[in-house]
């Protein structure tokens, strides 16, 4: 089997810190899976995501996406939702859609407008006039309107109300290509656990567990949320 994402003993030290953010992390992710990247605050989730997206470079170790090192080509196959917005808030939603369509060959304008309509977001609205939840929805719509190989969603539903969360999860399920993989980092485990194929638990910069979600339910007889609470009990 060929892997979509492979990392090999990744280490990442930030300046002035003695303990590494990533501690020899090795991982191989296949295509066609929805994977939850779960871990407590400061466990290295976002560092890993930033390395995959080429926003940080590893201190040592290597990684490939679809066989390529992080770079322009890898970015053309990754659709990334950052934890913090990077969009110009004075832009109108329609301008953002045009911007993304211009930037990414695999972007579907039609898909974007369809999702905007069903979430009742007006294309003429400027980003800064929207509520926090609506802004997050716009970002997620932009990210999911691409036809990418790997979607990386860093905390995608945190600011969104529960009803819209359901809709967004539905959108995610029905919009990705079957051979694409979604890597989803979140603390809101109970909201997303039914859609996950696999779970990666990360702690102190290394992988604690990488297992199918159903296997955890079967073997432990508990929900992923309950299992997470047990593993990371303070």
């Amino acid at each position: 089997m060929s892997y979509l994402l492979e990392t090999n003993t990744l280490y990442k030290y930030y300046e002035k810190k003695k303990t590494p953010a990533l501690n020899g992390l090795t991982l191989a992710i296949p295509q066609g899976r929805i994977i939850g990247l779960l871990g407590p605050n400061g466990s290295g989730k976002t560092t890993l995501i930033k390395l995959i997206n080429g926003l940080l470079t590893p201190t040592s170790g290597s990684l490939t996406i679809n066989g390529m090192p992080p770079g322009i080509e890898s970015k053309s196959v990754i659709s990334y939702l950052p934890e913090r917005t990077c969009l110009q808030s004075s832009m109108r939603v329609s301008e953002l859609v045009a911007f993304f369509a211009d930037f990414y060959q695999d972007f579907s304008v039609e898909k974007a407008y369809r999702m905007l309509a069903s979430l009742e977001i007006h294309p003429d609205a400027r980003l800064k006039t929207l509520s926090k939840g609506a802004r997050e929805k716009v970002q997620l719509i932009l990210v999911m309107s691409r036809n990418a190989r790997l979607y990386i969603l860093d905390e995608p539903i945190a600011g969104v109300d529960p009803a819209a969360r359901d809709y967004i999860l539905k959108t995610i399920i029905s919009n990705y290509q079957e051979d694409a993989t979604i890597l989803l980092s979140t603390h809101l485990i109970s909201d997303i656990e039914n859609i996950l194929d696999d779970v990666i638990l990360i702690k102190d910069g290394s992988i604690l567990l990488y297992a199918p979600a159903e296997q955890i339910r079967e073997q432990r007889g508990m929900s992923l949320d309950a299992y997470f609470r047990e593993v990371f009990a303070c």
């Binding site: 066609g32 899976r33 929805i34 009803a163 359901d166 809709y167 999860l169 539905k170 399920i173 029905s174 079957e178 109970s190 656990e193 039914n194 859609i195 996950l196 194929d197 979600a213 159903e214 339910r217 079967e218 007889g221 508990m222 929900s223 992923l224 949320d225 309950a226």
Partner: protein, 121 residues
């Protein structure tokens, strides 16, 4: 939105139970076409791979059949559906009897109880 699922049990097993129930109850009658995996997964709020697993299990028990280009259909075999219905009914009544016995009812009392509770209607 989504089906009501219990997240401390394997999801595919619950999907399986639910679809079996819908077939037995006639929501999906014998010989009828089922929605696609993706449609049903979106409706249930679960991963399409999980729904696929439930479907494979139903196929193995011959309750549904895949026709390569046309999609998935409920079996035409009414006997098979009837047998499943009886099996599910048996499971339900066993559970009921167990709960009643925990309340201290004897077998006789349970039957009497059912009679007086439900017969007048």
């Amino acid at each position: 939105m989504g089906w009501k699922l219990d997240s401390d049990r394997p999801i595919y097993a619950q999907l399986l139970e639910r679809i079996q129930m819908q077939i037995v109850s006639g929501h999906y009658p014998a010989g009828s076409k089922l929605p696609s995996v993706r449609e049903l997964a979106a409706e249930a709020g679960v991963n399409p791979n999980t729904m696929q697993k439930a479907f494979s299990e139903l196929e193995r028990s011959a309750l549904i059949q895949t026709q390569r280009t046309a999609g998935r259909f409920v079996t035409q075999d009414a006997v098979l559906i009837c047998q499943l219905r009886q099996r599910l009914a048996r499971e339900q009544s066993e559970q009921f009897f167990q709960s009643m016995q925990q309340l201290g009812y004897t077998q006789k009392e349970i039957l009497l109880f059912l009679k007086t509770e439900f017969e007048e209607e």
